[in-house]
Amino acid sequence: MIDPRTKVAGGLPMLADLADVGPGLLHARLLTAPVAHARLAVDTAAARLVPGVAAVFSGRELEAALGGRPLRFGPVLRDQPPLAVERVRYAGEPVAVALATDPDDADEALRHVTVTYDPLPLVTDPVAALDLPPSGAVLHPRDAEPSAAFPEIRLRREPGTNLVNHFVIRKGDAPGALARADHVFTDTFTTPAMHHGALENHIALAVPDAERLVVWSATQTPYKVRVQLAEMLGVALDRVAVRTLYLGGAFGAKCYAKIEPLAACLARAMDRPVRVSLDRAQSLTTVTRHATRSTIETGVRADGRITARHVTAWFDAGAYADISPRVIKNGAYGFGGPYDIDDIWVDVYAVYTNRPPAGAFRGYASPQAAFAYEGQTEQIARRLGLDPRHVRRVNLLRDGSRNVTGESMTDCHYDTLLDVAENAFGREPIPPQWPESEVRGRGLALTVKGTNTPSVSQAAVLLNRDGSLQVLTSTVEMGQGAHLALARLAAEALGIGERVVSVSLPDTDVTPYDQQTSSSRSTIAMGGAVRDACRNLRELLARLAADHCGVPAEQVQVGDGRVRAGTATFGYGELVTVLRAGQLRCEGEYASKGGLDHETGQGIASSRWHQASGAAEVTVDLETGRIRVLRYHAAVWAGRVVNPVEARMQVEGAVILGLGSVLGEELGLDPAGGQAQRDLLDYRMPALSDLPEITVDLLGGPDDEIYGLGETAVPPVAPAVAAAVADATGVVLTDLPLRPERVLAALRDPRPHHHRDSSPGDRADYERIAR
């Protein structure tokens, strides 16, 4: 287990601190493209002459060095080269790499690389990108091969277009139900690209020997990276080992191969260890959160009951598919929200553009979906002259309701979550003593988030002769506290102290298979595998003790660190010693089932439904448009909480991330299609001075199921704050982030933010603003 003293001494082992990986380590430095879409010619000849430089490669040269095969990776579609070949597809894409023992020499070499860029049409609007002619504006004219990392994903694509995938849900007859509805409201919401912002940048180290490649990586997905590297290099899985240390945050950015393919190729080409370590500017363009545009058409009865919905959404996948095909699945089933809608159709398109690739991001499309559907809940209530809380109440999913994928719901807690949000700040009215220019309001949001399903986790436990227990797991510890939770579950299952339990770092040579550390799944899935392994260990101890003492197995009791067989009692370690067993080892597994029908999107989308509410109180300065969040209350259905301190911190962290997304974080483009934000001075993330008072409710009890907590509290934040702004100003804002100039523009002219179907709500809004 991590000794907290190492954390306060700066000594927690992280990859950037691991320099000594064998003789001849080469540092790789990357040259990245300043333009977003162009044909490319790279000349490395002069650079190779720089003293101290071991090698310089363009994308073509790297392929040639490894036998001439195209080198491509990607967790679903293998469309991404480690270094751009012939064509650059986003600004920030690596186009050349220099290697040297002294990184300064590599930097120097890059100054002598000449690159010429022959511009291609810039594609930045995912909606328009779908209809572009197949001239230079189709980013991937040739279809990419599928990856073995996610063999089960079926795609809906049109080769020769910019469509990455189209995910479809067809529950009931949405068009018919819309035609019959009392009211139909159509609203469009947008969210921008975002940076994950893990303080530890991407880093990977590849160490080759004659037969194998060991890759150290700050990755959340060691086993997925292993598959991706093996298939790219054309070797068997056992020829690649992936190891991680502790991660300095990840938030989805470190899911699936990112810079590992480059490190692996360079190590193979040079037959020397290679370290690829990105700086912030490079991390900012390595992967982002999907920018989205979502149009929701919802049919409503006069009493606020939702009868039908059709969603069309575009997710900007950026230049490479990464995990977009799967992200949009979660986005698609997210659009139902926590609401019971009989007839709902969803069409989500992931589209290639000349932006940095978008991938997994804490919340996995549910924050973008939640901002849209909860924004519309507010719109609907206002237009019908109803209380938004009432509109939510009459539509909630409850046990037995059929959700968007047709699953019959159980363990639904939305009524409670709504109660908590309503009462978050007591019932006291908003005090009136604000400066003239400020208005104040409160709002709430309710959200749903799924988890990676179906999924598999395996674990092993090793019992030593001194009674200490090793948990072998490929779960990555990145600050979320998974290792402590796993130790606690193991200790509990065996009735031993946490202090005698240690949890391994992932190493695909040693630690059993795990799908990935993401999706708030580790405590549930890996926790399940560890508990299963411990159950098996108890059985093994009972059997061995029965044999040893010659008593029937039923007469053996295992628990509290002891084995009682007849009259004899052994400590666990003592029994291992007495039996001369050396060490006892047991395996365990957790596997969730599910999957959605390709044609209808119906089935089991998620093994758990993560349920949350948020309540916000804000002020809006009517002169400057500035929003200040005064208080925020997060409530999540946590079920059984394994580790209360860190659980609460995960929720607080999720809220703070959400606040960043609503108040200011946005990756914009410069005129050349480059990312406008190059460092953390431009891309501002919340600091202590930006925070409201944050309070947290973890709902549930010791007898409930375990629920994931890493992401659950993210989705409500943006819509709850937007709802509070609507309460204060009468205007529902539809575009994240809620920047002051947007607020001012909306206050000046709320009309575009409202629906054609004018209603009493609209007039009330105007009056309120006029006052």
Binding site: V8, G10, M14, D17, D279, V645, E652, A654, L680, M685
Partner: protein
């Protein structure tokens, strides 16, 4: 400019009370030297732009972004990194308070926050909550451990001065000890401060 135009120059630094000789190039920062030459990894690169505070060290007792500070300009001013904060067997009270409040998740940001807090509390033992919040706002924590970080620093303040805000004696966990982060020279502290901002 080539690497040859920017040769390594010997330089003496005082880091964590030890005098050390390093050979940085002119463009190397204090962060480069700490990590590449001295194997001190507690100061961590987050942005290398002065925006995140994860590379914070104390120079003459004042927090400085080591990613911006050219090694050559540090001169004789004492440098303290998080590795030099604890005494054998005994943590600094700010470190202890971070543990007692679990004021971290991934802990990448932790050394920077701790050193910023140490410096503030040495200069202003009675720093108010608002003052602490303002001073710590140059450090980022993407895991969002801020609530607990505030709790920890407030608690450390009370430990170090021996009483709570209302004057009642501090009765929490052992107060620990306080090692001065430097022999303060105010001119030097000012310069380092400028580098931090």
């Amino acid at each position: 400019m080539t690497a040859n135009d920017d040769p390594r120059q010997p330089l003496r630094l005082v880091v964590n009370d030890d005098e050390v000789e390093v050979r940085p190039r002119g463009h190397h920062t204090l962060l480069d030297v700490l990590r590449r030459e001295l194997d001190l990894f507690g100061a961590r690169p987050g942005c290398t732009a002065g925006a995140c505070g994860s590379c914070t060290v104390l120079v003459d007792g004042a927090p400085a972004s080591s990613c911006l500070l050219p090694a050559q300009v540090v001169g004789a001013r004492p440098v303290r990194t998080v590795e030099g904060l604890a005494r054998p067997g005994e943590l600094h009270p700010v470190q202890q308070a971070f543990i007692d409040h679990t004021a971290f998740q991934c802990s990448y940001c932790t050394p920077g926050f701790i050193l910023t807090a140490v410096s503030l509390l040495e200069r202003e033992p009675d720093a108010s909550r608002d003052r602490i919040r303002a001073e710590l706002s140059g450090n980022l924590c993407r895991c969002g451990s801020y609530v607990k970080i505030m709790d920890a620093v407030l608690d450390a303040r009370d430990r170090m001065r021996g009483h709570h805000d209302d004057g009642t004696p501090y009765t929490g966990p052992a107060a620990g000890y306080a090692r001065p982060s430097c022999s303060a020279s105010s001119a030097g502290a000012g310069a380092a401060q400028a580098a931090h901002s």
